[in-house]
Amino acid sequence: MSQPFRLNKEGLINRNKKISFTFNGKKLFGYEGDTIASALIANGIHLVGRSFKYHRPRGFFGAGVEEPNAKLQVEFNGHSEPNVNATEMELVEGLSATSQNCWPSVNFDVGAINNFLKMFFPAGFYYKTFMWPKSFWYKIYEPFIRKAAGLGVASIEKDKERYEHKFEYCDLLVTGSGPSGLASAYAAAKNGAKVILAEDKPRFGGTLLTDDVSIDNLSGKDWAEKIISELKSMPNVTVKNRSQVFGYYDHNMLVMFERVSDHLEKKSKFTPRQRLWYIRAKETILSTGSIERPIVFGNNDTPGIFLSAAAKEYMKVYGVLVGKKPLIFTNNDSAYETALEFKKNNVEPTILDTREEHSSELIDEAKSKGIDIRFSHGVIVANGYKKVKSAKIGKLNKHKNSFDKIETVDCDCICVSGFWTPSVHLASQSGNKLKYEEKIDAFIPDKKKQQETSVGAANGSFTLEESLKHGFENGSNISAKITETKAEISIPNVNEKKYGAHDKFWCMPLPKNENPKRFVDFQNDVSVSDIEIALREGYRSIEHVKRYTTLGMATDQGRTSNLNGLQLVSNIENKIVPEVGHTTFRPPFTPITIGTIVGREVGMEYMPTRKTPMHEWHEKNNAVFVDAGAWKRPRYYKQGNETLFEASKREAKNVRENVGICDVTTLGKIDIKGPDAAEFLNRVYTNAWMKLPIGKARYGLMLREDGIVMDDGTTTRISENHYHMTTTTAQAANVLSHLEYYLQIVWPELNVNVVSTTEQWAGAAIAGPKSRDMLSKLYPDLDVSNDALPFMGYKESDFFGVPSRIFRISFSGELAYEINVKSDHGMFMWEKMMEVGKEFGNQPYGTEALSTLRIEMGHIAGPELDGRTIPSDVSLNGLVSKKKDFIGKNSLGREAFNVESRQKIVGLIPIDRKSSIPEGSHIVQDQNAKLPNPKLGHVSSSCWSVENNNPFSLAIMKDGKNMIGKKFFAVSPLKNKSIEVEVISSHYVDPEGKRVRS
């Protein structure tokens, strides 16, 4: 199988390694080092896709990131990826590529009818047509647009690949390894700076790989290789290919996308597919080069039309001819190099130069080689539907607005060059205010906001000599400021061809009565007439024109279309380009995969998992876990075929009747020490703390400054100046920050220190009427009687040889204790408790039973402390001191907090004593009332009361306790339920609180 467009010798590909792949099902081969694009062109394939709006046939246009058309669906290494840029993706064995945005096939696309109905698809078409009637939107318009306009198809399979993130710091980041980038990196490296050099292509060297130049008597390519190998050998330099710096963020943070292994056929298990680098650079040198811009002409999107430099790159890097009968259409000298390259490979090009006859080093060389050059000429319209067959060309008149002569010439490709546009995306992203450089008809960086410097073509210098000089000088000067070392560097001698001036010509006029489409933006199908319409309809701001026409809004970010679009707008508006201004450049510069952004933060690694020291025991004993923040907590311990409901009922009932133990390690614990600790607590909590004796615990309520309850918990006085605070699991981190805020900022005069000890202690609650009996077995030498260890008492004692803390506190409302031991002893404590508790009927209980126990007791928790309730809303006004000041006190006097009808906590039971009330239900007077049905409150927590054997809920309700005895409906449209309920006290079980004190 021969490749009809592959040259015999040229190129940097590895001809010893054939790689087979398929395109639209057809089996083909290329070589190692090919991109999908170069391999397809070598096989004579140009038609690769259909355009976005009109479904016109499209082929390759560029050879790298500038490519607007060749986006393929690619399957390789076991996954399918849409919108892959064929000019960037390297060929790997077994890869299979297919065209997208075409149906049923790229050769016959039903959607191409849009092309013939193009009068229906002008600028703003979607805005105008699909606006009304509104009801049509979901059913007719949207599905139609989606089907017609889709690009590739995202995979619905789980991505099995590995993606990584990396954080890096350096003195100097150099983005791009063309001549100016290499020179900068080299000079900085010699000064001892920590340098990262990033190159987006697989090969280093940029234009040195394709330009006919020499540096210090080496070819450009050889010089680049020499510099790169020297850089690689230096310990202070990191050199990365296949790495695109795509975003420039605040404070010199740049983000780079590295394609680590997409080009590898086989890779080891832990090799990531792609890697995202967050690079904090002291200084950045932007050597991003420039991108050739096209000249606009009729049917300029026909397959076979290339940027001239891309055609040269295909020959020089890949050994591939984009055609055998090329037309070179240019307004400047650089395309002559492409023509000479064709000639070198025995292909006869014809050059159409928009400039009048003149001479320059390159023109003279082309002439001397016998190349057919036609000055004052240009392509009017390309002929051929799926591939260029011929072109109607014209001799321009003096004013270049009509033609002296028109003729048709045969060709199989058109290589177009409209001069060069510096890639200023990163500079602009960094906040650099660009300026318009008349000399090159393009924007270049100007006033910088961050530590960045553009060099070489990115800065508008298009000669090698200038680029190298800028590179060496800037690399040396910028790094010397950081390293305070300046190594001697001699700038090498350069041999390059001198270019003449370019022609400020960017769009071919049309002959009378001819109106072929002239595209400005290929990827979004925006033509000259679309922009004309937008301006005719009154759009003036370039940002508005962009949005109305979608010019420059596709994934190629208008790399080849921006400046021509601006030229067009300024011509029509009779302005100059700098007055029109440019649109905003936004990251990412090139599309990157979602997988890379996510990195390793998937599945188990999405967030850290916090496990208590007893976790393994829970696992072994059939615990079903629930997430509590990052913690895993046993929700219930499943026995046999029990459901959650059955298990939690059993566990809760056992606590009420016998005794149960619960892992409470996750509660926030804060150690508070210092002579002013009592004063501090007195300010932090709403109740009084100055007289808490040593060895006693107290329940405390904490407010925010706006009077809303922040958290609740018990704090125990361990010794004179030492307190142990507990917080809810959810608020642990916030409470610590809150305390630190007041100690560090508001009352730095208080001599108090706080530190989190959550991880240091393992905790277990022992709850139930038999808990004291069990405790006395756990502490045979300790007096645990009600007198010796009363409610809210505290003792320290040995637990079978390990130190422990015993708190007599209760969340379940039963007689209860909490034991804390050092985390390392947690499992020992738990197993001992299970062993000793057997004779008392002890069972472990999970969070579901814990909730049941607290709800039926009327104890508040997260659902009641929802950031809207003040102490009196949850019946805790008894804890609010009238005598002293505390955080949030002044807010409690606000009028709205003291309205009698304010929503307050109540209990609810269903009238039928059977139907569970869904949490979140709204309480209404009349379940059939017209919507919006006036809401009287909401259900915050629900349980099945094991004490009374019927459902019970807590609710926050208007008029609070005044509603007791009345009947309402709890409605949950979400669960499609409406339950008649009666309002009762929120303290459903043991309202006097006798049990905890028994």
Partner: protein
């Protein structure tokens, strides 16, 4: 991502900090009478300036100190950072 100089730890990524609001707000003294207006101003009223602004940040994944950061709210430029006990002019 901002690069914030903690006066205790040095330059660290924004990821390590949490934002804590306007640093120029002063809480009325504890145990002292305060008018409703002054209290409301302290709890609710905040300026939202474009430009220089002195803010509180906490080095939550570092030394846990609250610090002052003088930052331009429009450009994100950080002019100065300081301990909360120090003044930023």
């Amino acid at each position: 991502m901002l690069y914030i100089k903690c006066p205790y730890c040095g330059l660290r990524a924004q990821k390590e900090f949490s934002y804590g609001g306007d640093a120029t707000v002063k809480r009325p003294n504890i145990n002292e009478e305060v008018s409703s207006e002054d209290w409301d101003n302290f709890v609710y009223m905040r300026k939202s300036p474009r430009g220089k602004h002195i803010e509180l940040w906490q080095h939550i994944a570092g030394c846990r100190q609250w610090i002052k950061v003088q930052r331009d709210t429009a450009t994100h430029e950080i002019f100065q950072t300081a301990k909360v006990t120090e003044e930023i002019r």
